[in-house]
Amino acid sequence: MSSNVNFYDPGADSALEELEEGTGAARTGLGRNGTSRRAFIKGIIAAGATVSAGFMLHGLAGCTREVPVRGAVERLISLNVNGTVRRVDVLPQETLAMTLRYKLGLTGTKLGCDRSECGACTVLLDDVTTYACSTLTHTVRKSQITTIEGLQAANGDLHPVQQAFIDELGPQCGFCTPGQIMSTIALLKSSPRPTREEAQMALSGNLCRCGAYDHYLNSVMRAAGEA
């Protein structure tokens, strides 16, 4: 695949469809040239091309109505994610978690419940936490979006909060960790020296199936320089 694939190009679209729905190799998960579907998609993401809705709707073609009406939102938008402006093709009904994970390759934001009930998808919009699974991407065009990938320094050093979570053995399985860390970042921005009780409140919208809550609170307190 060339690096300037634009999915608005009907040619590219049909190539993708062939890969997704086609017979033979695509069905087995291997595209032509033996590229796996996952690698193919990641390759496109890495190439920085505008990413289309095509593959997201794979298998659901008949279920989705396109209702183009004058004055409604355009699909091609710019998002400010982790300090970089990225062009992306977003359906009106697409959630931010979907865009981040499946269009922009930012899979650090997890999808647990997809129903605002777990916190795995917690991201920051202008330093305020929200559930990316329950936020329409089009409603955050004007926000600075921060995901777990945006925390580490340019030289690869972990953010002090990430380091504190490691030092205190915060995570158990780790699935909820990105969300817990994003809630901690927001807390420490608004209240750099929180009490343990304040930390508890701040992380109360993040479920941990492993029950590592106390370890997480230890991590928050360490990050706040209080451990």
Binding site: T64, V73, Q93, T135, A202, G205
Partner: protein
């Protein structure tokens, strides 16, 4: 995952109320108003509601603030629950509302969920939410009010075919504070007492509020009547985060020389609308604030309750909350 994929719609993001109203009017029952989306998106993901057009109000800045007026405060409907919880003016005058807003859902939901959305949200009856064709969904049966129905969370009072309850934590506070809801449509503006804003199944079984397609709640006005009164808010839920109130209580009292001069109280989770407890108010008004009055209030609170199979526990729960509201405010 297919169930999590929303049906397509056109999304509109008007930046002023005039445009929003014309879109909302144009699409009528095919349109859907979106504020924070924390109730709406669940409906869309489950594909139970499939609007053709979604009108996002979050870009209308004039609807998102708290202002002091000559005789009270005005809260824009798009103000977030976190903003209401933290707002110093609200805390100083009407801390009851601040507390109630702080008890909703979870921090992330409060950060983007709005007060307008919180009072307009639909009921949580799971049969209905699951997409069954019950009375509320236009059918002719109720799945909760049956011998096998799971109705632990359902109502105690004034059921009329539907036994669902009002889910909002802020609604009882707004009723206790005598708030007014400003509803606007293309023909004009109307101020509706919070108490009349919520409607039961006897009036319309498919709606929770007076709002009809084309109507927008723009503002909530709270008069100074109860500013600085003695407030009590408590919510009892299975978990402190996420879970809806089994029962919640909001009360405002004016006490002089230990006598209750004036009182207003409302209770959520026991009726399809937030229940104004006028009986309690009448029983305690003019009495000293003491254990005996609190007990009298509690006894009168649940008068007329008709519990379902699994929600008898709500009667003592409600009584105890009323007692505490009198005793501990």
């Amino acid at each position: 995952m297919a169930k999590d994929m929303m049906s397509g719609f056109a999304l509109y993001q008007p930046t002023d109320l005039k445009n929003a109203l014309s879109l909302i009017t144009k699409f009528g029952s095919d349109g859907w108003i979106l504020a924070g989306g924390y109730d709406s998106l669940d409906w869309f993901k489950d594909r139970i509601k499939r609007p053709k057009a979604v009108i996002d109000l979050s870009g209308i800045t004039g609807l998102r603030d708290v202002r002091e007026t000559n005789n009270g405060i005005e809260i824009g409907a798009l103000t977030t629950l976190t903003e209401i919880h933290q707002n110093s003016l609200i805390k100083q005058k009407f801390n009851l509302l601040s507390e109630a807003a702080g008890k909703v859902a979870s921090p992330q939901i409060r950060n983007y969920g709005t007060i307008g959305g919180n009072v307009c949200q639909d009921t949580r009856c799971w049969y209905y939410r699951y997409g069954l064709d019950c009375y509320r969904a236009g059918g002719n049966t109720c799945y909760a009010d049956t011998p096998q129905g799971l109705n632990r969370e359902h109502c105690l009072f004034n059921a009329d075919r539907c036994v669902a309850v009002s889910p909002s934590d802020t609604a009882p506070a707004l009723i206790a504070l005598e708030a007014e809801m400003i509803v606007v449509n293309q023909t004009g503006e109307q101020a509706i007492a919070a108490e009349d804003f919520f409607i039961g199944p006897g009036i319309d079984i498919e709606r929770m509020t007076v709002l009809k397609p084309g109507d927008v709640l723009t503002t909530i006005r709270i008069p100074n009547t109860w500013a600085g009164a003695q407030f009590y808010f408590e919510k009892v839920a299975d978990r402190n985060t996420w879970d809806f109130a089994l029962v919640n209580i909001a009360s405002a009292m004016k006490i002089k020389d230990n006598v209750i001069i004036e009182i207003r109280m409302a209770c959520g989770g026991v009726e399809c609308v937030p229940k104004r407890l006028t009986v309690v108010e009448n029983v305690v008004r003019g009495n000293p604030r003491d254990e005996e009055t609190a007990q009298l209030a509690a006894n009168s609170a649940s008068r007329g309750a008709t519990p379902l199979n699994q929600n008898h526990f709500k009667i003592p729960l409600m009584e105890n909350l009323v007692k505490r509201a009198i005793r501990e405010a």
